[in-house]
Every structure is written in structure tokens, then in C-alpha cells.
């Protein structure tokens, strides 16, 4: 019998007034997973997270945590979940230590537990010797780390982060993501993270869901998502002459080649057997080789492809509806 997901969303629908914000969203998140929810701004990512932590109640559907509906287990969920908001969620006028003490108390920790935890946490988030600095005086990267520390002071099983890398420079982003990986590994915390920066998420998350237009388009591991879009590899080939007429005709005859086309001065081949195809190409034309690359399609391409397909489907459905009428 398959193990039940650690966190499960079942057909969750959220409506604000007359606005449908989430439509029939279902997700499965496993224990210790780093689960990314990617989507454009306004796609419903934050609403989805707020429903996950029980801050918002869905109009339809349910959220299960360890197979229990969070509606019936609100106190436990609050104790087991940590959260960091996009803009940070701490008191800028309190010091680092005061913030941790306050939120530790709010998370039902005793004074001694808090005092034991603070040095360990500060070390983890690399804020040692900063405990007496007022939070507003910290750099943006430090503030982000303080926010994470506030979110994990009570040793939650789940840490939810709403676009944590937003507004950070590439170096700080990299540092923050490596910190989250460390927390995931050392503290065995399930991480749920939202972002619209797909390239970063591609290398960071173990599983992902693509949300668009209030609904989940796809979910799975990065490779699963890429496979969903295409099982082909992409061979990009460029020569000095940039004349590929004969080569294209020969390659197209192969059964394992899906498609061949030119992109600027390059020849692009889509195939399930990249090694065999590459051997043939090199045998035919190896002189004047400028560039050669073999790729799986990027997550960006997967996302755009899914969104484009949805748009096409919508247009098709609209057309069908018109015809029916």
C-alpha cells in the first residue's frame, strides 16, 4: 500500500467575493521534500500557501497534513508549520534576539528552550554576533535569514517560503537557497517554496508544481516535467559555413529523429537517441565545427509550452463552443 502524502491538497477552490482565486487545485507533497510552486505573479501562489497554513479557508476541497484535515487540527498545524513571507514577517524595531524570543514564546517554547535555541539558530542562519542589532539595521540578506530563523525557531516539520529570493541579488539568492538546503537536510524539514524564477527552482526543488491562471498545470520532479513536455533531447550544431541542406536531408531519414530545423546559423535536431545521431552528424560533417550542445529542454521552455498549450486549448474550446452554438 502506497504511503499517504505528507501534505495533500484535494480539489481546493478559493473564491474572494466574486473572484475565483484558486480552481480545483490538488497537490501531493512528501516528507522532507523541497517542493516548488512556480508561476507568474498573480497566479494564486500566495493564496495557495495561505490555505496550506490554515490562514485562509477554502470554499471547496480540503488540505490534509499527515492525513488529517488541517481544519480539524489547526493548533497542531500551526505548531508544525513555519512560514516566511515575501516581505518578511518580523518586527523591524526589535533586535534579532528580541524577535526570536517573541516568536519563540508565541510558538509555545519555554524561556530555557528559547535561550538554548537562539545561538544554534543564529549559527545556522549565519547571524552570529548580530543578536543585539535592531532588525531594520540588518542588510536585506540578513533580514531574510532572520525571517527564516523566526519561521523555524519552533522546529517545524514544514517550512513554507513565499518568494524568498525576490529582491535579492544573485549571490544572496544562491546563499539563501543553500541555507534552505542545509535546513532541509539538517533539520529534516519539508520545504514548500514559491517563485517565478524558474531557472533557480529547477536546480533547487526536488518536486515542482506549475500554477497558472488559478490552477495547477503540472506537477512532478524537474525531469518528469521536462519529459511531460518532450522526451526528446535537443542537439544544437553549428559550422563555419552554416550550410546544412544535405545534412538535414540525411538526418531526417532517421526514424529516431523527431524534428530537424535551423535556428539562425545553427542546426537543431530533436531526438530520443542523441548519441547515435551525434555520431552520424560528426561522421558526415566534422570540419569547421563551431558549436555543439546536447540539452534537455529548460524548465522555462516547459512552462511556456504548458502555458501556450493551455492558451491554444482555450482558443480551441472557445471555437468549438461557437460552432456548437
Amino acid at each position: 500500500m502506497a504511503e499517504a502524502p505528507f501534505i495533500q491538497l484535494e480539489n481546493v477552490t478559493k473564491i474572494f467575493g466574486k473572484n475565483l482565486v484558486l480552481n480545483n487545485v490538488s497537490l501531493n507533497i512528501s516528507y522532507k521534500e523541497i517542493f516548488g510552486i512556480i508561476g507568474k505573479s498573480g497566479s494564486g501562489k500566495t493564496t495557495l500557501l495561505w490555505i496550506l497554513i490554515g490562514f485562509l479557508k477554502p470554499e471547496r476541497g480540503r488540505v490534509l497534513f499527515q492525513s488529517r484535515n488541517i481544519k480539524d487540527d489547526e493548533k497542531n498545524v500551526r505548531q508544525q508549520f513555519g512560514f516566511t513571507a515575501q516581505a518578511g514577517s518580523f518586527y523591524p524595531k526589535l533586535t534579532v534576539k528580541e524577535n526570536l524570543e517573541y516568536f519563540g514564546t508565541m510558538y509555545n517554547l519555554s524561556v530555557s528552550e528559547i535561550q538554548d535555541k537562539i545561538p544554534e539558530l543564529l549559527k545556522l542562519v549565519d547571524l552570529e554576533n548580530k543578536e543585539n542589532i535592531v532588525a531594520s539595521k540588518l542588510s536585506s540578506g540578513m533580514q531574510k535569514r532572520l525571517d527564516i530563523a523566526c519561521g523555524i525557531i519552533h522546529d517545524p516539520k514544514v517550512l513554507i517560503l513565499d518568494e524568498p529570493t525576490e529582491d535579492l541579488d544573485p549571490v544572496l539568492r544562491r546563499d539563501l537557497l543553500s541555507l534552505l538546503k542545509k535546513i532541509n537536510k539538517e533539520k529534516e524539514v519539508t520545504i514548500i517554496i514559491t517563485s517565478h524564477l524558474l531557472t533557480e527552482m529547477e536546480n533547487f526543488c526536488t518536486k515542482m508544481a506549475i500554477i497558472h491562471n488559478r490552477t495547477i498545470l503540472a506537477q512532478g520532479s524537474v525531469n518528469e516535467l521536462k519529459d511531460m513536455y518532450s522526451k526528446n533531447y535537443e542537439i544544437v550544431f553549428e559550422t563555419e559555413s552554416a550550410k546544412y541542406g544535405n545534412l538535414m536531408a540525411m538526418i531526417k531519414k532517421r526514424k529516431d529523429v523527431e524534428d530537424v530545423k535551423t535556428r539562425y546559423n545553427k542546426l537543431v535536431i530533436y531526438t530520443k537517441e542523441p548519441e547515435s545521431v551525434l555520431k552520424e552528424i560528426l561522421a558526415i560533417k566534422k570540419e569547421g565545427l563551431v558549436d555543439l550542445d546536447i540539452n534537455k529542454p529548460s524548465l522555462n521552455e516547459v512552462f511556456e509550452s504548458l502555458v501556450t498549450n493551455i492558451k491554444k486549448e482555450n482558443v480551441q474550446t472557445a471555437g468549438d463552443n461557437k460552432e456548437e452554438h
Partner: protein, 491 residues
């Protein structure tokens, strides 16, 4: 409990670290009460400017001006009636007194006093003070006049002696008796002796054959004179004397009646005649009480009103607009605990203010608070403060920004203040409005503190008012909780 302490600690740290808020919230009311206590710690009026005008000032007018021109009043003679009246409109003078020309105690002219009734909070105070001074002078004059009158009466009484009149009457009666006796004697003399003389004369004439006609004529003349005296004159004198005696008796009776009337006046003290019904205004509190003592309960509620509303709304908006507000919603700490923590933080801040206010008051005015009302005071202050804090918190939750919530707080405070006894007595309002206004927490709070601080009332005496306030507290707690829930939508 531990969580509540941490919330309170956090809120006070946040307030103190927001310097401008701390300055306004903590020092504002304290500065206010300090200045007020120093300014109003007196029982007098100061610098009341009075303009006077008269076509011709008399001695009495000058005396009245001299009487008024003391201490708090500054009198200036103005050159025209129009200027005098207009000076009130322009605010140069508080009162204009117009004396009739050549005012004296015999003249019928009256003093016209012009006042600006739009200055409702002071006009009656000034009028009362002026009336009291003029009344003093008027009484002084009445006393002098009555004194003269009484002296005259006393003098008349002492000189109106009926015994001397009685003596006159007796003397006249004696005279009358003597005249009657004289008349009888003369009559006796005339009727017998004259006849004998005449017979003797006739005998002599017959004996001596002489004619003594001259003598006979003389006797006849004498007889006729005696007859005239006894017959007409003496009777007339006797009748006049009888009439005189009767008149004298009548005068005596009148004098007796006047004396009796004068003696029947029982009150002969000048002060009692000038003011037969004496009134004495007896305050129910000590005479030494200053304006500040009277107004302290109002001032205290005023501070609680503004401080409670502003602190309540400011801290709530600060909390609401804080980055950490969202995290508070997702911790296992209940919203009720958060709400109670925020309320207690505000309560502590205001408690500190109230303690400082009392220290200032006690040190400046020597005010004492009896130990037996101390507990009642604490209970009353706690309930009154809670109403205003919760009202402030409610506004803080209902309005999105600090500016709008502060504006709402000041507006609500002003409404509560306008519809209280502080600016206009509520008795001036229509009955229907007064019915609503009587539920104004400012009015109820002021009443409770007045009864406690000025009349040293016990808890039973203010229990009805406290129940009203407690009812408001319960309603406000529910509304504040609901408003906090509402703010979730705005995150």
C-alpha cells in the same frame, strides 16, 4: 500568562523605540495635565476687562467703579456707548457697564450691563462676580439709608412722651375746675352782694334822701359786667377748655398709638431690614477648593479619553501595519491572547500616565485621596480607561492607515467631548438628544470620578454608572475581536 507578558514587553519596546509616538503618547497627556494644574490651581478670575460709560459720572458711579476696580477686574472708562458695546464684540473687553447720568440713591436710573453670551463658559462667572460687587455696594447704601430712618424713628419715639400731654390735659382740667369755681363765686357775688349793695344804697338814699345815682349806675354796671363774665365769657372759656382737654386727650391717644406702633417694630437691626431673608450659598465641598479641584475629574477623564483613544488606535495600527502582523496570525497563540496582550500593554501605559498625573496633582494642589476610596478609584479608572482603550483599538482595526485612524480617534474624542458637560451643560440639549448623550462614556466617567474624588462616594453610589461602563466594555471587546478578524482580509 507568559505569552501575555511577552506581548506586553514587545508592545512597550515598540512604542518606546518609535520615538515620535512615544513622545506624543506618553508625554502629551502629562504635559497637558501639568500645565493645566499649574494654570487652574486658583479659585479666582484673572484679568477681566470691563469697559464703563456714563454721560455724567456721579459720586455713586465713581464709588461703584472703585468697588469693582480691584483684584481681577480692570476697568476703563470709554468715551461712547457704541465703543463700549462694540468693544465686547471685538473681544477687547469682557463686560460693558453703562451708568445712568448722575446716578444717586434718589435717581431712578438703572445700570445696564452688556455681556457676550457666546462666551458661555465665562459669562456667568463674570456676571456673578460683578453682581456680587454691585450688590455689596447697593447693600452698603441701603444700610446707610435704613440706619438714618431707624435713628429718626428712635428719636421720634424717645420724644413722643404722652405723660406730658396727660399733664397738659390735667392742667387744663384743673383750670376748667377753677374757672367753674370762679364763675360760681362771681355768680354768688353778683346775685346776693350786688342786691344787698343796691338795697343799702336805696336805704341810704331813703334815709338820707339822697340820690346816689352815680353809685347805683356803677353798681348796676358792675352787676351787668358780672353777669357778662359769668354768663358768656366764663362759659365760653369753660367750653374752650373742655374742647382743648378733648383735643389734648386725642393727641395723647395718637401719640400713644404711634409710640405703640414704633414699639411694635420687633426688628430694629439694620442688616435684617436691608436683607430680611438672608441667603448663604454653602458648597458641599471645602471652601478652599480651587478651580482645579473642581475640574480635576473632568480633566482626568479628558486625558483618559484622548490618551486611551490615541494610544489604542496608534498601537493597533502600528501592529497591523507591521511586517510581523501576519506571523502573529499563524502562530499557535490564540487571537484572544494577542488581543488581551495588546489591551494590557495600552492599559499599563495609561496607568503610568495616571500615576504621574496623580503625583503631579498631589504635589501641586495638596490634594488628598482618602484610603477608603482608593480601591474604588482604581476600579473606576480601570473600567473608564478600558472603554477608551478598546474604542481606540476598534478604530485602529477599522481604519487602514495611521493617519485615518488618528483622525477617526480625534473625531470620536471631540464628539464625546462636545456632547458632554465640559463645553455646554447637557441640560441645554433637547430631551431626546439628552437621552442618548447620557450614555456618553465621557459623561459617565466624569460623573463617577466626581462622585469619588469630590464627594468621596462609595462603590454603591456609583454602581449604576459602573455597570453601564462595564456593558460598554463587553460590547467593545466583541466589536474589537470582530474588527481584528476583519483585518485578515486586508493583509
Amino acid at each position: 500568562m507568559f505569552k501575555l507578558l511577552e506581548i506586553i514587553k514587545k508592545n512597550i519596546r515598540l512604542l518606546i523605540r518609535s520615538k515620535s509616538s512615544a513622545l506624543i503618547v506618553l508625554l502629551g497627556p502629562l504635559a497637558l495635565i501639568l500645565l493645566i494644574s499649574m494654570a487652574f490651581n486658583t479659585s479666582s478670575l484673572y484679568d477681566i476687562k470691563i469697559g464703563t460709560y456714563s454721560d455724567a459720572y456721579s459720586t455713586l458711579s465713581e464709588n461703584l467703579i472703585a468697588q469693582l476696580n480691584q483684584d481681577e477686574f480692570k476697568l476703563t472708562k470709554l468715551d461712547s456707548l457704541d465703543r463700549c458695546v462694540n468693544s465686547i464684540k471685538t473681544g477687547d473687553y469682557h463686560v460693558c457697564i453703562v451708568f445712568p447720568p448722575d446716578l444717586n440713591t434718589n435717581s431712578e436710573g438703572k445700570l445696564d450691563i452688556y455681556v457676550d453670551k457666546t462666551r458661555v463658559n465665562i459669562v456667568w462667572l463674570i456676571l456673578n462676580s460683578i453682581s456680587s460687587r454691585i450688590s455689596t455696594k447697593s447693600t452698603e447704601l441701603s444700610t446707610a439709608l435704613t440706619n438714618t430712618l431707624l435713628n429718626s424713628l428712635e428719636n421720634a419715639n424717645s420724644k413722643l412722651d404722652s405723660s406730658s400731654i396727660l399733664q397738659i390735659s390735667t392742667s387744663l382740667s384743673d383750670i376748667k375746675t377753677k374757672i367753674n369755681s370762679l364763675t360760681a363765686n362771681i355768680n354768688a357775688l353778683g346775685s346776693s352782694n350786688i342786691s344787698e349793695i343796691k338795697e343799702e344804697i336805696e336805704d341810704i338814699e331813703s334815709e338820707n334822701n339822697l340820690t346816689l345815682s352815680a353809685l347805683s349806675d356803677l353798681v348796676s354796671s358792675l352787676e351787668s359786667s358780672i353777669n357778662v363774665v359769668t354768663g358768656t365769657d366764663m362759659e365760653s372759656i369753660s367750653a374752650d377748655l373742655s374742647s382743648g382737654i378733648s383735643n389734648v386727650n386725642s393727641v395723647r391717644e395718637n401719640v400713644d398709638a404711634v409710640v405703640s406702633d414704633i414699639n411694635s417694630i420687633q426688628i430694629k437691626e439694620v442688616s435684617k431690614i436691608v436683607s430680611p431673608i438672608s441667603t448663604e450659598i454653602k458648597p458641599v465641598v471645602s471652601e478652599e477648593t480651587t478651580h482645579l479641584n473642581y475640574t480635576f475629574p473632568t480633566l482626568l477623564v479628558l486625558v483618559l479619553l484622548f490618551a486611551g483613544l490615541l494610544i489604542g488606535s496608534t498601537t493597533t495600527v502600528e501592529e497591523k501595519s507591521s511586517k510581523a502582523y501576519f506571523r502573529n496570525f499563524i502562530t499557535p497563540t490564540t487571537e484572544t491572547t494577542q488581543l488581551i496582550g495588546n489591551y494590557l500593554s495600552n492599559l499599563i501605559i495609561i496607568a503610568v500616565q495616571v500615576i504621574i498625573i496623580f503625583i503631579v496633582m498631589i504635589s501641586i494642589t495638596n490634594m488628598t485621596i482618602p484610603k477608603d476610596i482608593l480601591t474604588n478609584m482604581v476600579i473606576a479608572l480601570l473600567i473608564i480607561t478600558s472603554v477608551f482603550i478598546l474604542l481606540g483599538m476598534l478604530l485602529g482595526y477599522l481604519f487602514k492607515t495611521g493617519e485615518t485612524s488618528n483622525l477617526a480617534s480625534v473625531t470620536v474624542a471631540c464628539i464625546l467631548l462636545f456632547f458632554s458637560n465640559t463645553i455646554l451643560p447637557t441640560e441645554t440639549l433637547p430631551t431626546a438628544v439628552r437621552g442618548i448623550v447620557n450614555f456618553n462614556p465621557f459623561i459617565i466617567g466624569e460623573k463617577v470620578l466626581k462622585e469619588l474624588l469630590i464627594f468621596n462616594s462609595n462603590l454603591e453610589g456609583i454602581s449604576a454608572s459602573l455597570y453601564y461602563l462595564l456593558g460598554m466594555v463587553v460590547i467593545l471587546i466583541i466589536l474589537t475581536y470582530l474588527a481584528r478578524q476583519l483585518t485578515k482580509r486586508w493583509i
